[in-house]
Symmetry: C2
Subunit: 614 residues, 2 copies
């Protein structure tokens, strides 16, 4: 069935990149959904075919079969069928979603009937599309604005909105506020799920919701600490706090060969994210994906839905964000109108995110992370959830738990370290973005113009061969057969070229994309340190104006030194992981590239052997 | 020295082909003259850099050093120096040419002083440029008009003008008519050379010139025969000619396995065109290239200038053109503003042309061709030259020398054969043009966007590597060194990609270009047969109206059968050569392609080995 799609925004093709210029409102036919790289191949009314960003088009509802409008099991079955076809989640659920809104209104009143409001997380809201939210490569686009909008942690505002949005959806979840509908897809999903949970877990969950909402308040406070510009308080919350609780949950920092390091465990925690299962509720009107996470410690799988990952992210950001950059969840970068592709991509990125968290000694050993990986049963999970949400050692207060076993640093030295790290992360951020930009271009060429050209070469050889066959001259079968084979070989090469990026460039891009997200968190983390350093600089003035006692000034210097050790430990952790990751991905890339060129060479040698040597 | 050039014609860049859009009259800077493929890289005033067809720009005279305006040896020396630089022949000789015009005017009066008229054959006259005459690939362009204008034999008009022009220049040569200056470069060259000859050979040459001019008349007559449409006479000149001289210079046709074939010699004639020498006359004011041709029969080298090749071409076309397609000389397709490139290319193509002529049993054994290859001395050459020019067995009269040793063919059968050959040559012409078009595109991509992209990938790796080096973290030299090496490798790959077309695609293009020229001659050759067949069809009517006797009708049928045998022998010759040539060129292409991909794979394997395996 030819998939028609509506163009949501103007897109101007970049010359030579096999792109297709489309205008808002135009209807195009999807000719290939499996280009990858956030692109689909579309054909316009004039028959021109080219690549269009997947998030610039919206599949036509009209292209869908219609359902009976009753909330029975029947449509659910229908949905299942469509989902198994190559239709997008949006296609599959748009009509039923509408129905569901009606169901919702029956359940939650007062509730405005909003039949046109997207419910499926796979639906692209204009906002998302504007920010290329559904294009995984778009995060790899050099355009910083696009980058920022794709990675909520990549700049302060991004973080603010990112967390605010999550907060709303969460708060909304507790109160079932209709505005939840207006948020981006993911939040809608959260809302539905929360609503589902409520219907099952009842009021208990609402309480947690309230505690949770309160917690948000704390979260936002800790948030402000990150931006002294906007803040009355700032890091002095830690620098000047009266007494620091001893003994419990301490984070020691040791002096290693490379300088300050976290305490690393004997055995490295890791986990496998696998086996995504589609669950459904409300007689199949509501569907969700549940992933199975198996830690190497217990080897006992636990199930989590995306919203649980998001909850974990929020906890980790609240608790460790000031000392440890917590990369945002893949969500904002992941794409896919088409279920399988989407789930595969999301799972791959959740796996990457989890592995990175497992590799961090502080996070891996944290109570909330262990809970996520090893909760015994629903009750265990809910209890742990509430406890984590009530944790008050969040924001800059995390530094109260850090204990460096080393001499205090001179504030000057602290400032130098801080600036050095800032320079490096900025430079690496640029370097990573450059690779992403080049890779993005290369991806398009390899899936677009290049294979087309090899195909044309192949066709030209075969065509000439068939002309030769028509000569009526005797005894040229060897030549014509060989030429046909050579032609076919170039068609195979075209195929190889088009497939290759998924085999090598993909992982190079994924790793750099992960690092782009990670590096985007450093400005916040470093910002906290800068604020603290500035505060310490004011020390004398503050003493003179009796704002603080001389003793408190000494304490501040001591504590900023602790913060600096934490930052150094974190940088050293970052460096060792960076070296490991880039060593791995470069090897993988080059290995696949070697295979690629060797395969082509072998094919051509085979083709060559078919000619009679003279 | 930055080479400035004037844009002669508007050129609109094709998207994604690394081309530069230029407007007539615009001044650009030549940034790379060695792109090949008839392209140069130019930069416009806005700093944009891209490819422009070499024949769309004219190098500025202003960019040239100025000379003393005296016709002494001094400027000649000066010229030598410049020629060794990367300046074009035009650049090198423009000023001296002007001086020479002045010299000419002193010698040949009445003579208008035409200082602005080009004299060097390397100067591109607008006409030449219009016909892409200086772009070797342009002959490979799908655009048939371009094709035609590049190959004077590729259509009747083309042939007409081609020969007419030659005729003029030749006639002019005899009379030293100033209009010679107006013709395209090559003719000017002829004129100068002829004028030089005169100054040495004196009036004798003028006589030969006259005889020659008469001969032209014959030539034009035989020319007309090829286009019955324009002709009162037509092939009946042969079909009805009274008696056919017996015995002398007969061209037998035997029945071979594949059908009628020419008589092939025991040993294959071949020759080597090599060692181009720059000669100069008039105290170095006048310069020319002399090639050394060594046949494998005598192994004694003879020297010829381009004008001699052109003379040979004219003779062969006159004498055999009706029975045997004579591909036009490379001249019209060859390019090069830059001396070495130009001479190399022209020699390569003269070699190709000569080898093809050598491989043809009829041409190889002809008196005129043997004279060209084996003349003993200047006197011997001039005598043979005059004799050849007086030869009257030209045009359709060549068929009087053909003696098939086979039963006469039924006119119906003759017509069928003729149509079959026509269909095949047309189909092959299309197939060849398709390869040329695709190859043309591929050439641009391989020399343009693709290497640029590999270069950017290489730079991105190296850049990230140097950022890593700045981390201050210990013990990552292995990684950074390996990443730098990988980056350099991709820059090397960029180089390989850009160089590759000259190693493989070039020969594929050259061979197909040769065949394009050759196939372009068939319509004329086949046209003669069609005209003869039509005439025979009229047989009865002609008898009825007493235009011919019944006996003459019988004779016509017999002779058209002879013509058909000739055509079949020629087609069989064409086929066997085609099989040989394509077998050879396809093998060479694939061999080089295999080497190319293996080299890249090896380089990448080397780069991969530098990473520490984990």
């Amino acid at each position: 069935m030819a998939l028609k799609a509506q163009v949501l925004y103007d897109f101007t093709a970049e010359p030579g990149n096999n792109e297709l210029t489309v205008k808002e409102g135009e209807t195009v036919t999807i000719t290939n959904q499996h280009i990858g790289g956030g692109w689909i191949e579309a054909q316009n009314s004039r028959g021109d075919v080219g690549l269009v960003p997947i998030d610039y088009v919206e599949l036509n509802k009209s292209a869908l079969p219609s359902f009976p409008a009753a909330g029975t099991a029947a449509p659910a079955a229908g949905v299942g069928n469509i989902v198994n076809s190559d239709l997008s989640f949006f296609d599959a659920f748009a009509p039923t979603s509408t129905q569901q809104n009606q169901v919702d209104t029956r359940r939650l009143s007062p509730q405005p009937d909003t039949p046109d409001t997207p419910v499926s997380p796979y639906f692209t809201s204009p906002d998302e599309a504007n920010s290329n939210g559904n294009d995984p490569w778009s995060a790899w686009n050099a355009d910083p604005s696009a980058g920022a909008s794709n990675n909520s942690a990549s700049n302060p505002d991004g973080t603010q909105t990112g967390r605010a949005a999550a907060g709303d959806s969460w708060g909304v979840a507790a109160q079932g506020h209709p505005q939840a509908y207006q948020g981006p897809g993911a939040e809608d999903d959260e809302w539905d799920d929360e609503w589902d949970d409520k219907s099952t877990a009842g009021y208990g969950e609402v309480e947690s919701g309230d505690g949770n909402a309160m917690q948000r308040g704390g979260a936002h406070a800790s948030m402000k600490l990150k931006f002294p510009g906007f803040s009355k308080s700032g890091p002095e919350l830690y620098l000047l706090c009266k007494q620091i609780a001893k003994g419990k949950d301490k984070l020691p920092i040791y002096m290693g060969e490379v300088g300050p390091v976290w305490l690393y465990p004997e055995s490295q925690l890791d986990c496998v994210v696998a086996d995504p299962k589609k669950g459904s509720k409300m007689y199949g009107l509501k569907s969700y994906i549940e992933y199975q996470i198996t830690p190497n410690t217990t080897n006992r799988p636990v199930n989590h839905r995306y919203k649980h990952f998001d909850w974990l992210y929020e906890r980790l950001l609240d608790k460790f964000g000031s000392a440890i950059p917590i990369p945002s969840l893949p969500d904002k970068q992941v794409t896919g109108r088409f279920e399988e592709e989407f789930i595969k991509m999301r799972m791959e990125r959740l796996q990457g995110w989890m592995s990175r968290m497992c590799r961090h000694p502080v996070i891996a050993s944290s109570e909330v992370f262990q809970l996520f990986l090893t909760y015994k049963d629903e009750k265990d999970w809910k209890t742990g959830k509430r406890k984590a949400e009530k944790d008050e050692t969040v924001g800059v207060m995390i530094f109260t738990t850090i204990e460096p076993e080393a001499a205090d640093l001179d504030p000057i030295e602290v400032e130098q370290k801080c600036e050095q790290f800032n320079r490096f992360t900025k430079a690496m951020d640029d370097g990573v973005k450059e690779i992403l930009t080049v890779g993005h271009e290369h991806w398009k060429r390899c899936t677009g113009p290049l294979p087309k050209e090899y195909q044309r070469i192949g066709k030209a050889f075969q065509n000439l061969s068939s002309v030769f066959t028509s000569s009526g001259y005797q005894g040229e079968e060897t030549l014509t057969d060989a030429m046909t084979a050579a032609g076919k070989t170039y068609e195979e090469i075209a195929q190889l070229v088009a497939e290759q990026p998924k085999k090598d460039l993909h992982f190079l891009m994924e790793t750099n994309n992960e690092y782009k997200g990670l590096l985007g968190c450093f400005p916040d983390t470093i910002g906290v340190h800068k604020a603290a350093i500035d505060k310490v600089k004011e020390g004398d003035k503050l003493v003179a104006t009796n704002k603080i006692t001389p003793q408190e000034k000494v304490t501040m210097a001591k504590r900023v030194s602790t913060m600096s050790y934490a930052l150094q430990a974190e940088m050293n952790h970052f460096h060792s992981n960076r070296i490991y990751d880039y060593n791995r991905v470069m090897q993988l890339y080059l290995e696949e590239q070697v295979k690629f060129y060797e395969t082509i060479a072998a094919k051509l040698r085979q083709a060559h052997s078919q000619f009679t040597t003279m």
